[in-house]
């Protein structure tokens, strides 16, 4: 079989303008070579900054925001596309190679109907007539499981849901009958139960049309479901290339092995104990709205234990955190903490209440004042709650830095000088400084790369053991839950639908939602997608 796409020693660079320094060039992709046969799917995987999206766009001769291809060759259908000039690239883009973006919501023009946008490339390249293109679009809508395929195209982008838009974007990429589709993190922005359907739809569409694809993602479990081959990238260089089976089952490089085994932290569940936090029958709504975001929610949490609150976007899990912290007083219900009943509103709580209940946020960058040094950030709770000053304060800050495995040289640094993982560590130290009984962790690892996230989870478990602090761990990621929880509350549409010790919650028999949620989480094994779908088909046939 002949190669459809071949990249030879591809080099991609950009000019950066760091403040206070001279602008200089950096290399994003450092000499990557690979080839892709017709009808095959290649998964590109790596952490942020690995250069995977940049390589994907380079197959269309495109550089995003000042990024330029500085060397190497990109051959498609026997032509070096970098030598054909703008004219050649225009003839290629949207005809031979098409693109599916991560955020379909932003990638569709809000002012034009879906059908116009889906058929546009096919028509502009003269690949078919208008009626043929529309018929093809309707067939694709149908195949991708979109509702009312005949009339779906008459809607505007804002009139359909995020999952549907992502499918429509796939239809848009397939409509001109290209030879190659570049999928750039197409399911990353979706909830896990939506992701599985879109993933299945994309996989079917690829198989039925026989198109080749570059599938870019940071999630190895996802890419294992759709790819024939996988290339692992790091810092713009190829780490490992092989068949999907070889990468998942027999990785050669340490880095790949780390990616495969990520989130496999072994965490035995602790025995039940008297709770430190009890929330009883909490019902809450935001002022000015008419719907309760939390409906009769009750949970409790023992000292030194972790309760994971799991749910998808809109399930009310973050609202629960706001209620417990006092930022959103509930309309009904009561919160008991450390043997006393907490005032529903923040203003009514004592300094001791506030000190013993700390919070860590998802986005560490905005959780720290950019104008304060690490020393001030960690030192302020010490000064505020314990009145520490001078030498004593500085020593204690150094001690806390040591606990989060950072050198005390960081004390005078500003947040902007830290990496993502370091920022989150500083936030953990700030929470620990108050010597709390409970820390609420709101999606603390979801903005981090998998390996960095793993480091944070291990640190949190380690600290829990030493300090006997309880965690209320809010997350949408079930792998994280398995790694860290003692007990679990599954939330759906403002209610707790399943609650108990980890071993019970994660064991059958399941309620419908928990079953759907658990079975939708991609597993690091080949053929998982087919298994789940077959299983679901069987179940629905059985009903």
């Amino acid at each position: 079989m002949s190669d459809l796409l071949e990249m030879k020693n591809l080099r991609i660079g950009a000019t950066v303008y760091p403040p206070g320094e001279k602008p200089h060039d950096i290399e994003i992709v450092k000499g990557v070579s690979f080839s892709l046969e017709k009808g095959q799917v290649l998964g590109l995987i790596g952490e942020s900054g690995a250069g995977k999206s940049t390589i994907g766009l380079a197959s269309m001769g495109f550089g995003r925001g000042g990024v330029e291809i500085t060397g190497g060759e990109v051959w498609i259908n026997g032509r070096d596309i970098l030598k054909g000039g703008m004219r050649g690239l225009r003839a290629l883009r949207g005809a031979e190679v098409t693109y599916v973006a991560q955020s379909a919501a932003a990638a569709f023009n809000p002012a034009r109907k879906l059908m116009e946008q889906v058929t546009e490339a096919a028509l502009q390249h003269g690949r078919c007539t208008k009626s043929e293109a529309e018929a093809r679009a309707v067939r694709l809508f149908d195949k991708l499981g979109l509702p009312d395929p005949e009339t779906f195209g008459n809607r505007f982008p804002h009139q359909v849901s995020g999952g549907q838009l992502q499918r429509a974007m796939t239809a848009m990429a397939l409509c001109p009958q290209p030879d190659l589709v570049v999928f750039d993190e197409p399911t990353t922005a979706l909830d896990v139960t939506t992701q599985i359907d879109v993933l299945a739809a994309i996989k079917d569409a690829i198989r039925d049309t026989g198109v080749a694809a570059l599938y870019i993602t940071h999630d190895l479990a996802v890419v294992a479901q759709v790819s024939d081959h996988i290339m692992v990238l790091r810092h713009g260089e190829k780490v490992e290339y092989g068949t999907a089976e070889q990468i998942i089952n027999a990785p050669q490089e340490d880095y790949t092995r780390a990616l495969v085994t990520v989130r496999q932290i072994d965490h035995p569940e602790k025995a039940p104990a008297e709770p430190v936090l009890t929330a009883k029958n909490i019902t809450a709504r935001y002022s000015g709205t008419r719907y309760d975001v939390l409906k009769d929610v009750s949970i409790d949490l023992a000292p030194g234990h972790t309760l994971a609150v799991v749910g998808e976007s809109g399930s009310g899990k973050s609202t629960l955190a706001r209620v417990i912290t006092g930022l959103l007083p509930p309309s009904e219900g009561q919160i008991d903490f450390a043997g006393r009943t907490l005032s529903p509103a923040l203003a009514g709580r004592s300094r001791e209440d506030l000190r013993e209940l700390q919070m860590i946020y998802q986005m560490a960058d905005v959780a720290m004042n950019p104008r304060q040094t690490v020393g001030t950030i960690i030192g302020r709770p010490l000064e505020f709650y314990f009145g520490m000053k001078g030498r004593k304060l500085r020593d204690r800050v150094a001690e806390l830095l040591d606990k989060i495995e950072m050198a005390d040289g960081f004390i005078d640094r500003y947040p902007a000088e830290l990496s993502g993982g370091q920022k989150q560590r500083v936030c953990i130290a700030r929470a620990l400084a108050a010597d709390p009984k409970l820390i609420i962790c709101d999606e603390v690892t979801s903005a981090l790369d998998p390996l960095v996230a793993d480091g944070i989870l291990k640190l949190l478990l380690d600290l829990q053991k030493k300090e006997n602090v309880a965690y209320l761990f809010i997350t949408h990621d079930l792998a994280t839950v398995r790694a860290i929880a003692d007990s679990i509350a599954v939330m759906y549409q403002g209610k707790v639908v399943r609650y108990g010790p980890k071993s019970e919650v994660l064991a059958p028999p399941f309620d419908d939602y928990t079953d759907l949620l658990l079975s939708s989480v991609p597993e690091m094994k080949l053929g998982w997608l087919e298994e789940v779908l077959a299983h679901r088909k069987m179940e629905s046939a059985g009903h």
């Binding site: 269309m60 495109f62 995003r64 690239l89 225009r90 003839a91 290629l92 883009r93 949207g94 005809a95 098409t98 693109y99 973006a101 955020s103 932003a106 990638a107 569709f108 023009n109 809000p110 002012a111 034009r112 546009e120 490339a121 502009q124 390249h125 809607r155 505007f156 804002h158 009139q159």
Partner: protein, 319 residues
């Protein structure tokens, strides 16, 4: 009622409410501020009898609320009162001047709007290259000078030194033919254009750049569409609202610019009339002019919002 109609109704109602409140503000601003109006009109040397007479004439002895409503009902019936200094009917003197001002502003807008949009597009097309840099330099220079100085600069160089245009608009006659009138206002129009152009160009550039950086423009480029089609089919429909907004906001600048430019070029418009009567402390005239200027300004802002509402696909095609 569809959401668009509801929003439009709300916006228009808000505009009217604003206008009503502004009328109160202007009334309060002129009559209840410290300093006796009668005293300040007649000066320190006025006799007590003269002051008492004037207060009587102005109705200053009535309660403020009564005076306000008398004034407001008068305005509704087209009666703006009489000028203190000349005793003339204000509505009558204003009518002709208002038309003159509109004539001047109209021509300034006709020239400035297409030019600004075109230059804004040019700046985007040649972003960070010399046309863009030249345009921003000229913009910086022209917003660093007050309108009246731009006026005198043009008058001095184009009118007096080069003699291309009449240096003042003193020869303007509303009943002359269009070409004579246009020649008379050539320099004032040029000044107004320059003043409005700078802001309008800068804001147009920003508005289009904002649209051009959207993800859907990248999608269009990755479909292999021509630059023209990307701009025409994808950027343009989404740029209408911001550009119209920019245009309307800047036409509101014209309202202020016109006051000063009329004084510089001795043009018989409403701005000159207003400034004349501010120095003469002729309160009823100032109130009337202030209200009209504010009404035009509020109207333009309202129009800008109405057009943005109409151009928003989310509102036009609700879920």
């Amino acid at each position: 009622m569809t959401p668009v109609v509801k929003l439009l109704a709300q916006r228009i109602a808000l505009g009217l409410l604003l206008l009503f409140l502004v009328s109160i503000l202007i009334f309060v601003g002129t009559l209840i501020l410290p300093g006796d109006v009668a005293q300040s009109i007649l000066g320190q040397s006025a006799t007590p009898e003269a002051l008492a007479n004037l207060r009587q004439d102005l109705g200053l002895n009535e309660p403020a609320l009564t005076r306000y409503f008398d004034w407001l009902f008068g305005v509704f019936q087209g009666d703006l009162g009489t000028a203190l200094t000349s005793g003339q009917d204000i509505a009558e003197s204003l009518g002709a001047r208002f038309r003159n001002t509109l004539f001047l502003a109209f021509w300034a807008a006709i020239i400035a709007v297409p030019l600004a949009v075109f230059l804004g597009l040019l700046a985007v097309r040649y972003r960070d290259r010399w046309p863009d840099k030249l345009i921003s330099a000229v913009t910086l220079a022209s917003i660093s000078l007050p309108e009246f100085l731009i006026g005198y600069l043009l008058m001095f160089f184009l009118g007096v030194k080069l003699r291309w245009f009449p240096s003042t608009a003193i020869g303007y006659r509303p009943d002359a033919d269009v070409f004579t009138r246009l020649e008379a206002i050539a320099l004032p129009v040029a000044v107004l254009t320059l003043v409005v152009l700078a802001h309008m160009m800068r804001m147009t550039r920003a508005a289009i750049l904002n649209v051009m950086q959207s993800a859907y423009i990248e999608t269009a480029e990755l479909k292999g569409l021509s630059t023209f089609r990307v701009i025409w089919k994808h950027a343009f429909p989404n740029s209408i609202a911001p550009i119209v907004n920019v245009v309307m906001l800047n036409l509101a600048y014209l309202v202020v610019g016109v006051v000063v430019v009329e004084v510089v070029f001795v043009y018989p418009g409403m701005g000159q009339y207003l400034v004349d009567h501010v120095s003469k402390r002729d309160v009823p005239v100032v109130q009337a002019c202030g209200l009209i200027f504010a009404a035009v300004y509020i109207g333009l802002n309202m129009l800008a919002d109405v057009i943005s509402i109409l151009a928003n696909p989310r509102l036009r095609h609700p879920k």
